[in-house]
């Protein structure tokens, strides 16, 4: 006989150990809103975004424990979950929405917000059932989640480990400071040292090698061997360890095989010089091939994971029936969220498709929703294995599919694309947070409940910021974003180029397909995520992959010399510090830019 069923809500609010508290929710929302607006603003100006978990975790200690004097580890975990959930939608929005402004078309703010909110809810609802598979069974590393857990656990890890963590944070801040100091504060940075090959945030090691006597002749003109000054990449690589080394493979294939071979054999148009070869090859060969590899690898990987996902779902259902305390939100709640969000998406699609039928709107919403599920899993797996989220590739594919469905209507295509991008960024963020929660003993049910409650706030804040900025720019420059304004929206400009290519029937669909075949085959090898990782790294900037790979190699070396347990205990906090330190300083720089207007 089964024990009596308990309501799933009965386990959410408990008072014995501080977890979900008004302070944690209030702090999380406040910091999430501030970060979201600041990062949206700086993202439109300079094109980069920052994750919010680590920053919220560090600030959480200061506010909840330091000022309010009552925060617990799991309470701070809820605070960072709420904050990052509210913050994270910005990377999905700034990739897509400004494209509409760049193309000179306007879309109703409320439909766009409704679609992005629906996307955020769908992202969370879709990814929750895969938690057991990715975190409990596959034990994916989720480097940012691991780093945040290291911050949250620091009060119990002893003084020595806290010092190691602080050392990592301090070093990362010191190194990262001079990459931005000149642009943001006017303080001379690396580029102002006047050393050849030292840029604002890169070291052109290839240039140094090429200038070595006896070696320079062997160095190929189109080779790029530039290292980003990016402590976070080093830290993420270290936390990932040996599995992350595969990430380098695709980068090396793209940079040192395909690009020089294509250049030497004159596969590129006349006029492409050696220093432009990598850029041409990235756009026309490596990125489409990499996206194909990634998608093919992910599809086959997903087929292999179906038994694990099925078993995990069975375990979720079993938990509800056994009368034991629930781990996760019930599937029924998630189903209601999915149906509700789908209806909103359908309404948004119907309102924006010109001359479209209800059937066409339903098809667009259905394909968009199905794509969110698949792409969300792919993104979460990539984030789990490497810490990188291939949002740009997914955005491109999404818009391509939507343009196909809407007969090249850009407004509904970007609308659904924005919703998908918000969904998949929420998927990756949710899994990072759940990984942190696992490592500090947080309740997944409570984290999921909170995430579902607050996830709608992010798109509202982010889109309000985008529209306010657009209005301001229209008043000041006569155009909303792009050239001629101080908000060039570089990521959206890249997507605009891709839309242009798709609508002029020049999309490299053949390369997508060939990459898909290779990626699919690689995933049959039994090496976890091989096709996905190689594909992903073919179009990530090599300058970040190199320090990332170095981090993996250092972790492997230390594991061999000092043992895996020692490396985990002492190396991971330091690597976590590197990851967190750069993020902390990044948000300070973003805030300075916002304050300067």
């Amino acid at each position: 006989m089964h024990p009596p069923r308990r309501s799933w809500t009965s386990g959410i609010f408990q008072r014995r150990y501080r977890e979900i508290t008004p302070e944690a929710i209030g702090f999380g929302i406040l910091i999430g809103v501030v970060m979201n607006a600041a990062i949206t603003y700086s993202g439109l100006k300079i094109g980069f975004t920052i994750g919010g978990s680590a920053i919220a975790a560090v600030l959480g200690w200061g506010v909840l424990r330091g000022i309010l004097r009552k925060g617990s580890i799991v309470e701070n975990n809820v605070a960072q979950t709420v904050a990052s959930s509210v913050n994270t939608s910005n990377s999905g929005v700034i990739f897509t929405v400004p494209v509409l402004f760049l193309l000179g078309v306007r879309i109703d703010f409320w439909w766009l917000t409704a679609a992005c909110t629906a996307g955020a809810i769908l992202g969370v609802a879709f990814i929750i059932p895969t938690r057991k598979q990715m975190i409990d069974c596959d034990r994916l590393r989720f480097p940012t989640g691991t780093a945040v857990a290291a911050v949250l656990r620091s009060p119990g890890e002893g003084v020595e480990k806290a010092l190691v963590l602080m050392g990592g944070i301090g070093l990362a801040m010191a190194v990262f400071f001079f990459t931005q100091s000149h642009a943001v504060l006017g303080i001379p940075g690396y580029a102002q040292l006047g050393i050849p090959g030292v840029g604002e945030d890169v070291l052109d090691v290839g240039m140094w090698i090429a200038s070595l006597p006896g070696v320079g002749g062997l160095w190929h003109d189109s080779f790029q061997f530039t290292w980003a000054i990016a402590p976070f990449a080093l830290g993420a690589g270290f936390i990932t360890g040996r599995p992350g080394l595969v990430v380098l493979a695709g980068g090396l294939l793209a940079a040192y095989v395909i690009t020089p071979v294509a250049f030497d054999n004159q596969w590129m148009p006349a006029g492409v010089e050696a220093d432009g070869a990598a850029g041409w090859a990235l756009l026309n060969m490596n990125r489409p091939l990499g996206i194909g590899l990634l998608m093919g690898g992910a599809l086959v990987g997903l087929l292999f994971a179906i038994p694990a996902i099925g078993a995990a779902l069975k375990s979720m259902r079993g938990a509800g029936e056994s009368g034991r305390e629930r781990d996760e939100l019930p599937l029924g709640v998630l189903a209601v969220a999915v149906v509700g969000a789908f209806c909103v998406l359908f309404g948004a699609a119907h309102a924006t498709v010109s001359g479209g039928s209800l059937g066409q709107a339903a098809l667009i919403a259905a394909v968009g929703t199905a794509w969110m599920w698949f792409a969300g899993i792919v993104i979460a797996q990539c984030a789990g294995m490497t810490d990188w989220s291939p949002i740009s590739g997914m955005a491109l594919l999404t818009v391509m599919v939507c343009l196909l469905l809407t007969d090249n209507q850009v407004v509904p295509a970007v609308l659904i694309g924005a919703a998908v991008c918000v969904a998949i960024t929420e998927c990756a963020d949710m899994m990072q947070d759940l990984k942190t929660g696992h490592m500090v003993g947080g309740s997944p049910l409570r984290q999921q409940f909170m995430e579902l409650c607050v996830v709608w706030i992010g798109p509202v804040v982010c889109l309000a910021t985008v529209y306010l900025l657009a209005e301001r720019n229209l008043g000041e420059y006569g155009v909303a974003f792009g050239p001629g304004t101080d908000s060039p929206a570089p990521q959206a400009a890249a997507l605009q180029g891709a839309i242009d290519t798709i609508r002029s029937d020049n999309a490299p669909t053949g390369l997508y397909a060939m990459g898909g075949v290779l990626g699919g085959l690689m995933s049959f090898s039994g090496i976890p995520g091989l096709g996905v990782l190689v594909g992903l790294s073919m179009y990530l900037p090599l300058r970040y992959l190199l320090p990332y790979g170095l981090g993996c190699a250092v972790q492997m070396l230390l594991s061999r010399l000092k043992g895996a347990n020692w490396t985990e205990r002492w190396g991971t906090p330091f690597a976590a510090g590197l990851l967190v330190g750069e993020g902390l300083l990044g948000i300070v720089f973003a805030a300075i830019q916002v304050l300067r207007g």
């Binding site: 014995r16 501080r18 617990s72 580890i73 799991v74 057991k132 598979q133 409990d136 069974c137 034990r139 656990r153 119990g156 294939l253 095989v257 071979v261 596969w267 006349a270 090859a281 026309n284 060969m285 490596n286 091939l289 292999f304 038994p307 694990a308 078993a311 375990s315 034991r324 305390e325 781990d327 090249n408 696992h438 003993g441 947080g442 997944p444 420059y477 006569g478 155009v479 050239p483 001629g484 304004t485 101080d486 605009q496 242009d500 609508r503 002029s504 029937d505 020049n506 053949g510 390369l511 060939m514 990459g515 075949v517 290779l518 085959l521 690689m522 049959f524 090898s525 039994g526 347990n565």
Partner: protein, 356 residues
């Protein structure tokens, strides 16, 4: 050995396959001059040189009948032509529906006001120059000479005054019904549109290399899977056992369960610091060993068995992590409860662990 060969084939297959795929989008195609094909509309991809390196025909020249004849006479058997021949083509407005504009179109008689404050970009400077504007004034009061060869756009000079320029439909605009009507109303009859990409299997010279690469990858995958199965068999018959070599997983699991049960029995007598230390030992000892050995379990017993074991084990781990955090926070009652709550999933994991 089999595994190494599998890896090698996988690497070779991937590299050759990726290169062969990249070849499919190369910017030229080779055409045979001996055939009587119509070559009008084709343009040379690069300079064509004679055997003594003298220039026969320069790059980008159209392949007229006379040029083809001259090349044949010079003994040239084949040449490379641009692919696509032109990136754009002129089109009458009705034919331009559904195409993308290649070059901007100026709408005669319509003007656009460029506000003061707009940052000067190369495109804007070009438009102004084309409209006959000789110089602009920056907000700082400095005059910008548009005829100058090098204008420094990096300093992002802002216009001091509003200017009026002929309105433009920018390059990249998708020509739908509304746009076409707008262009027609402005008296435009023809526009330059982007040429759609064409993909011809015959132009993909490395297609057989790609097929070979796929087969090599397939063979590599098969060998790797075979090697993986052999490893699992070796493990189960006493061979190298991966991360949990020093102890049978059953024994480790029993040890973890016994230690947790012992801790649960005396948990009421422990204070926060002692609880913290005891739970830390469990987490970094037998539990860590079991989790590190999960891949061997999956390889030996399959995905379902691994999930059935790992899901409750991870549940127990989370309860112990919570006990650890609660002990650090001084929430002793919660910490004690979590230790007790870890027992049920641990027993579930023990029951789920495959017998052999």
């Amino acid at each position: 050995m089999i595994g190494k060969l599998g890896n090698l084939l996988l690497v070779i297959g991937t590299v050759v396959g990726a290169l062969a795929a990249a070849d499919s989008v190369k910017a030229y195609r080779r055409i045979d001059l001996s055939a009587d094909a119509d070559l009008s509309g084709e343009f040379l991809f690069r300079d064509v040189l004679a055997d003594d390196e003298t220039l026969l025909v320069p790059a980008n020249e159209a392949l007229s009948t006379e040029r083809v004849a001259a090349l044949r006479a010079a003994g040239v058997k084949s040449v490379r032509v641009r692919r696509p021949a032109r990136p754009f083509e002129p089109a009458a407005l009705p034919e331009a529906r559904g195409r993308v504009l290649h070059s901007p179109v100026t709408l005669a008689g319509r003007t656009e006001r460029i506000r003061a404050g707009r940052i000067l970009t190369p495109d804007l400077a070009e438009r102004a120059r084309a409209a006959g504007v000789a110089s602009l004034t920056a907000r700082e009061g400095e005059a910008i000479d548009l005829a100058a060869e090098a204008i420094d756009f990096s300093r992002k000079a802002r216009l001091a005054e509003e200017i009026e320029l002929p309105e433009q439909v920018p390059a990249g605009t998708y020509l739908d019904e509304v746009r076409l009507n707008e262009l027609a109303a402005a008296g435009i009859e023809r526009v330059e549109v982007k040429v759609p990409g064409t993909w011809n299997l015959a132009d993909w010279t490395q297609r057989w290399s790609f097929l070979g690469a796929v087969l090599a990858t397939l063979a590599g995958v098969a060998l790797l899977r075979r090697a993986s199965r052999a490893d699992v068999q070796a493990t189960s018959t006493g061979g190298p056992a991966g991360a949990v070599a020093s102890e049978n997983p059953h024994t480790t699991l029993e040890r973890l369960l016994t230690q947790t049960e012992t801790l649960a029995e005396r948990v009421a007598s422990l204070d926060a610091a002692a609880l913290h230390e005891a739970v830390d030992d469990l987490l970094s000892g037998p539990l860590y060993t079991l989790i590190e050995g999960r891949e061997a379990l999956r390889a030996r017993h399959g995905v379902r068995a691994a999930v059935a074991f790992m899901a409750p084990l991870a549940g127990a781990e989370r309860q112990l992590n919570r006990a650890w955090s609660a002990a650090v926070d001084g929430a002793v009652e919660e910490s004690r409860d979590c230790v007790t709550r870890a027992l049920a999933p641990l027993r579930e994991a023990r029951d789920a662990y495959p017998a052999s």
